[in-house]
Symmetry: C2
Subunit: 284 residues, 2 copies
């Protein structure tokens, strides 16, 4: 399996830390910086991180693209256009390979973006104009999953209210999101990991009910009370453990991305988003 | 004493909560919304909050101006111009009153901004281009005190590093800040309240050493272990108390603003910033 993940959102929302947290002790294959340019010739930098994970015996080659300058400037008009251009370029290259005479479907390189995690700043008020414009544009091109970064800045009540506010705004602005298929968890015995935590529900495990996922990331390891070394954040008033589902949805999101919906994300990209691109391309 | 405080910074940095935290159980006199326009005719909204506080037997009439839309948009070019216009307008009105025939120096209304708290988002990276441009412009007009909002999102190490990074950047960009006079604390017995906390020092009390102040605000009251009701934030992993100096610099900042440097802030405004305005005005 090879999953291509695009991580977008304002600087300081915890994206790079989240990316590092995804592959705790896994094999880190390397990192590279690339410049991509948009229609008006502006170049924005992307950081590509490649890592190979072992998820319950299945090898997953994960490529993560992070856009560090996103939303950083005084004027961020059209920052999302460069990201859309990046996504389109991957579709274009795939299309060219598909149409080439010497193609080999078995081994065709697939670096199309299978999933875009959009990081929302935990500001307590809701989506910002930049978030709305960006997600609207991205939603028609790629599987978008909204995520609240640095969620340890929100109390449980604030987290639940913020999630509800965001869900309302996403609906209001008609933003297209990745549609999670019904849970079909191959590890049914670990089902309680999917139990919604910081949004008040506690009955049926349901990815949609957790949206937007409240994540916390960390580059530091802390010894928890069972003596295990876990990723966490140590404050004077207490310690956050990112894999503790009472603290955030990190573990849930990781499982949904890397195990449960891995193939669905790739299928929807190929059969819906890439198809749309092909149709648009041939209709021009 | 009547202190006029301007609170500026991106939405979601905790400004309104901080303002509410300043006057715990004090008399809340009222709130009003006003529109102010900048040179290019854009109107931005300001919220004016008036409250009367009793600080160790001294009555302080505090007027706080908050600029809710600051830094909120996709394009924030020149958002700070409206704030500078607001400050200049107050100087202008004061000048007109000073020059009027029927003036009465004893009872002259002074609604000039005595202090501007600039809220920096705790993004871990440093100042944003918007922060640099805004503080540069404001620093030449008013007493600017930089503050890190929602500081409970930073661990003690991150807080110390972030403060150092910001101090370096403020110096690098030659940003003019309010120059704290040497500590002359009338309540010398409570000196330990000024003990620097989250930036590693613990020797001499020194406001400059704490800059930028790391504050946490809260609208909810929590019962602490001594049974007292204190403002705090309750997380699944622990409880933050905003008046606990191991948790943040809230108490220190409050004392510096409302007691220790109250008259110096007003003097510097009158003798330096307002004087500069008058000179510029008469030299045109
Ligand atoms: N409170 C909190 N801070 C975090 C979290 N993740 C990262 N940080 C800190 O936030 C800052 C910015 O994180 P970074 O991952 O570089 O954000 P990015 O700019 O979105 O890539 C750093 O100081 C991190 O240590 C988190 O989950 N919670
Ligand atoms: N973690 C944390 N959250 C805060 C703090 N102060 C306010 N908040 C929350 O942050 C959100 C925005 O706060 P607000 O005061 O409205 O920010 P403003 O937009 O700058 O005025 C709200 O959900 C608050 O409850 C704080 O010190 N720490």
């Amino acid at each position: 399996f090879a999953l291509n993940l695009l991580v977008v959102g304002e600087t300081g929302t915890g994206k790079s830390t989240f990316i590092n947290s995804l592959f705790s002790s896994d094999i880190y294959d390397g990192k590279e910086s690339l410049g991509i340019s948009n229609r008006i010739g502006q170049t924005i930098q992307v950081e590509k991180t490649r890592v190979t994970l072992m998820e319950k015996g299945v090898q997953v080659r994960l490529t993560i693209v992070d856009v560090p300058g996103f939303g950083h400037y005084v004027d961020n008009s059209n920052t999302w256009n460069s990201v859309v251009a990046y996504i389109d370029k991957r579709y274009h290259e795939y299309l060219e390979r598909e149409m080439s005479v010497k193609r080999n479907l078995e081994s065709q390189l697939d670096d199309r973006v299978h999933c875009c995690l959009y990081f929302i700043a935990p500001n307590g008020h809701g989506l910002r104009p930049l978030d709305i414009s960006a997600m609207k544009a991205l939603g028609t091109k790629v599987n978008v999953i909204p995520v609240i970064g640095r969620a340890d800045t929100l109390t449980s009540d604030e987290c639940r209210e913020f999630k509800e506010k965001i869900r309302r705004e996403l609906k209001e602005h008609d933003i297209k999101l990745y549609d999670f298929p019904a849970e079909n968890d191959p590890d049914a015995d670990e089902e309680d990991e999917l139990k919604p935590t910081r949004n008040g529900h506690s009955k049926e495990p349901n990815a949609k009910a957790l949206l937007p996922f409240a994540v916390i990331g960390s580059n530091t390891f802390i010894e928890n009370k069972d003596g295990r070394k876990v990723r966490g954040r140590k404050y004077p008033w207490g310690t956050v453990e990112i894999d503790n589902s009472d603290h955030c949805d990190f573990t849930v999101l990781r499982r949904l991305l890397l195990r449960i919906h891995l193939s669905d994300l790739m299928d929807v990209t190929d059969q819906v988003h890439y198809e749309n691109y092909r149709c648009e391309y041939f209709n021009k």
